[in-house]
Amino acid sequence: MSFLSLEGLSKRFGTHTAVDGLTLAVEKGEFVSLLGPSGCGKTTTLQMIAGFVEPSGGAIRLEGRDLLAMKPAKRGLGIVFQSYALFPHMTVAENVAFGLEMQGVAAVERSKRVGETLELVGLGAFTGRFPRQLSGGQQQRVALARALVIRPQILLLDEPLSNLDAKLREEMQIELRQIQRTVGTTTILVTHDQAEAMALSDRVVVMNHGRAEQIGPPHEAYERPATPFVANFLGRTNLVNGTTVRPEKIWFATSGLAGKVRTRIFQGNHWLYQVETAGGLVTVIRQNTGEAMPGEGESVHLAWDGVPPHATRGEVSAKRTEGS
């Protein structure tokens, strides 16, 4: 039996179905991401697990117990909110101690665990500060420490990194993954950022219109997308003769699909090409190895695995999707 299971979980707001019969089994210690565009039902799902939204149907079980029968305050879940939701009138230490205080942990034990957890997130020196005196990244760590200190059965992360700038976000991703591995807490992350979901998760749940389109390890979902939606949501794709080809899997060859380079963009570690072919635009990504690359306006031939280059003469359509 799995650790956490969602069984046919649904939520309707009036006539709108936000979550439509979602079934998911999460193992102990696993890191699972709910990934999808805004309005796909991922946040509603998280709120139902947390207990802030009442499901219209289905069940949520934690180690076999009915979680829906428990009040939100009794579920013992750690939550990191998108806005961090720190208590602005309390210091960092008071924020982190709050959950322990609610559990009735004695003062000595409390300050010991608060200290340990703040060390874990690298904020040992900030105990006396107020949230407004901290940067966004630091506030984020306090929120994480506050959720982890109560040793939650499950850690719920609601778009925790979306308010950080790109570089900091990347650093926090690495750190978040390390911390999660260290403490081993079962974690559910809600995000619209496919790169973030792929970087952090053991498995991703790609959601659309309240349903799970695909559940699987990030690499599998990327390489073998179950639906066109998944293919488009997880990075760039070209749809050629009904098969999807990732732009980085196409190379320039001496024969193959003929085309002409329309644009070439240098992005440091790789080149991004838009190639005009008989059927339409094809996006090509080539790693920057230092070799000379075709320039704009040059005639090229495109080849990729699985399809003999000479056989590709049909309709080509290029799609580009980034998780915004």
Partner: protein, 268 residues
């Protein structure tokens, strides 16, 4: 911030002069020795300040006004908190009607309220009592208390309370440890604004106050009906001095901008 041009400066100077001139004139007149209102003058005297001592009803009316304002504002704020939390954060049937009801004292002329309360309190046997004054003042200051309390309740991030709940806090604990401290600046501002309105009120109070329960503005109003001497100007000067002193203390202790604008603790 952009600098003011010459026209703007002239405008602001005129505006501030227009606002402050009556107050300054009252203060000047308070220091004149004549038995009537004379301004300008070249002689100065503290005569009319000593005179206040001979009218103990002014002093008792001042304390009564203070207590009336403090009490009615406190009760109005106490009513405002649950009302603001309900109106500000929930959608329910009758919500708009409830808001309109609480705000309605703003629309009704105070003279009408005064006559209505006079009749009503006489029927109830509360005519001319301090309790009657408190009840009537609660009604007129409630919109001011509610406005600022509501502003801070609406601005409150629900996920902060959700965070507290997820950490195991009961509803009562969330209210006491999280919600109330976060709306406190709004409550303090609401109380202050309500107090000012209560202290100031004369149109309604003049109908329902009786000898022995007159507030300071009512006492002054009744006095100038029968007298032409500058006693009321010296009383006014004292009230102005007390107000200025209170504002300075509040500004040092709390920040006036925060008090009157009702900004929350974390500056949002």
């Amino acid at each position: 911030m952009s600098k003011n041009g010459p026209i703007a400066l002239v405008y602001h100077t005129l505006f501030v002069t227009f606002m402050l001139a009556p107050i300054l004139v009252v203060c000047f007149v308070a220091f004149t020795p004549e038995g009537y209102l004379s301004f300008p003058t070249d002689r100065w005297s503290l005569r009319w300040f000593y005179a206040i001592g001979r009218y103990p009803e002014f002093i008792s009316a001042f304390w009564r006004s203070l207590w009336l304002g403090a009490l009615s504002s406190a009760i109005a704020v106490a009513f405002s908190v649950p009302a603001a939390l309900a109106i500000g954060r929930h959608r329910f049937r009758g919500r708009d009607a409830m808001t309109a009801l609480f705000m309605s004292p703003l629309m009704i002329p105070h003279v009408v309220l005064g006559i209505a309360f006079l009749r009503f309190f006489t029927e109830l046997g509360l005519g001319g009592t301090f309790v009657g004054l408190v009840l009537a003042h609660i009604v007129i200051v409630l919109p001011f208390a509610l406005r600022l309390t509501l502003a801070s309740a609406v601005g409150l991030d629900r996920s902060i309370e959700h965070a507290a709940i997820s950490l195991g806090a009961s509803d009562g604990t969330v209210l006491r440890r999280i919600t109330l401290p976060l709306v406190l600046p709004g409550l303090v501002s609401g109380w202050a604004l309500a107090f000012i309105n209560s202290f100031d009120e004369v149109t309604m109070t003049v109908f329902i106050a009786a000898p022995g329960t007159e507030t300071l503005p009512v006492r002054m109003f009744l006095y100038i009906q029968d007298n032409i001497d500058p006693l009321v100007t010296s009383v006014s000067a004292v009230v102005i001095a007390v107000t200025v002193a209170a504002l300075i203390v509040l500004d040092r202790a709390y920040g006036l901008e925060r008090l009157l604008v009702g900004r929350s603790v974390d500056g949002r």
